[in-house]
């Protein structure tokens, strides 16, 4: 049977295209233009070629930021994914506690990002914050404003607190969609808890976990507000992630050329990862 092709439907896309042109394509073009020039303000530009790209790609500072970003993303994924699944497994599937658990889990996701950063900043202060004060009271020398290890600990703890709920909710939705017949069959076969998890729940969760993984990866790779409010990238540069470094170069130093080049490199990394993840997701769906 011949499939009918009606390309007139593309006309309906034109308004969206116009909107995207103004809020994405034109700014992107401007960034590309800035990335090959130098400016000292007053709307005057001087050709610089691809030197900013080379500077950024060869700079220790960029490598360090990218490394910190990779470590941060890998750390939170390694914690949030298994923790989210574990919490979802312990949540009730029926009864009045379901709603309570779901609301409690959703609460951190409803808090604005800058508020999360401010909350944890106060919470972890060594003198007046509950977390900082308690850790010092039990013998730890904790001060996230001075010690890089403590800053990383607080940063990761904050992200885990804020975003594990997303994994929990997605995993819970996946678990809820498994028919009872699977569990009944497993019971007849005498399967234990581990066997049920390994051979029934985990395979059935694979699609939602892929989505959760991708969402958390992309969000954490672009994270800015929470670490900026919590630590400002410090102490020193120890928690300066890529986005914070970019803003420092663009607004702090007003180096628009290097900042534009770094923006494009950052954008290309995210674009590549997005494509890889999209491909993985759609392949999984096809299989």
């Amino acid at each position: 049977m011949n499939k009918l092709q009606n390309n007139k439907a593309w006309l309906f896309v034109l308004p969206v295209f116009a909107l995207v042109a103004f809020n994405a394509i034109i700014p992107l073009m401007t960034v590309v233009n800035y990335s090959v020039q130098e400016t000292f303000g007053n709307n005057e530009f001087f050709w610089a070629g691809v030197i900013w790209f080379q500077d950024i790609l060869q700079s220790e500072r960029f490598h360090a930021s990218l490394g910190r970003q990779a470590i941060f993303t890998a750390s939170i994924l390694a914690i949030e994914m298994p923790l989210g699944v574990a919490i979802a497994l312990t949540m009730p599937r029926k009864g009045p506690w379901v709603s309570v658990c779901l609301v409690l889990m959703a609460l951190p996701l409803l808090i604005p990002w800058n508020v999360v950063g401010a909350m944890w900043n106060i919470f972890a202060l060594p003198d007046i914050g509950f977390l900082g004060h308690m850790l010092n009271a039990i013998g730890f020398d904790f001060n996230f404003t001075r010690q890089p290890g403590d800053a990383w600990f607080t940063l990761i703890l904050m992200d885990v607190w804020h975003w594990t709920s997303l994994v929990v909710l997605l995993a819970y939705a996946g678990l809820s969609s498994i028919p009872d017949a699977y569990y009944q069959a497993a019971k007849i076969d005498g399967a234990g808890s581990w066997a049920i998890f390994r051979y029934i729940q985990l395979p059935k969760l694979s699609r939602v976990l892929t989505i959760a993984f991708l969402l958390r990866f992309m969000d954490s790779f672009m994270i800015y507000t929470e670490p900026f409010v919590l630590t400002g990238g410090g102490p020193g540069n120890s928690t300066t992630l890529l986005s914070i470094d970019l803003v420092k170069i663009a607004l702090g130093q007003f180096d628009l050329g290097p900042a534009a080049a770094m923006s494009l490199i950052y954008f290309l990394i995210i674009l590549l990862l997005s494509w890889v993840f999209y491909t993985v997701m759609t392949r999984n769906e096809e299989q």
Binding site: K3, Q5, N7, I26, M29, T30, V32, N33, Y34, V36, Q37, T39, N43, F45, W47, G49, V50, I51, F53, Q54, L57, Q58, I265, L268, L271, L272, W275, T279, R283, E286
Partner: protein, 93 residues
């Protein structure tokens, strides 16, 4: 209001004209042969011609970045590599 705030240069304008030409060509091909000509390539992916263009452009960007980061700012060699890469992508991916 002019476009001076966008800081246009001829090389960047040429780059965007090239991208626009690629998209225009894809649109023309789609109108003449609808469906995107999907096929299974060497990567085990089902790709349309639009996917292949995207893979080529994105891969080429990383070829240029790798050259800039590791070798020099002379870009004729990565341009040649990107063209060869493009031929391979449109032929086999």
């Amino acid at each position: 209001m002019g476009l001076s705030w966008m800081a246009w240069t001829w090389p960047t304008a040429a780059f965007f004209i090239f991208i626009a030409c690629c998209l225009g060509t894809m649109t023309m091909l789609e109108l003449r042969n609808p469906g995107g000509a999907p096929r299974d390539g060497v990567l085990g992916l089902t790709t349309t011609r639009g996917d292949r263009l995207f893979i080529w452009l994105l891969g080429s960007a990383f070829i240029f970045l790798a050259w800039l980061g590791l070798v020099s700012t002379l870009l004729w060699a990565p341009l040649a590599i990107a063209i060869v890469y493009g031929v391979l992508v449109f032929r086999y991916v």
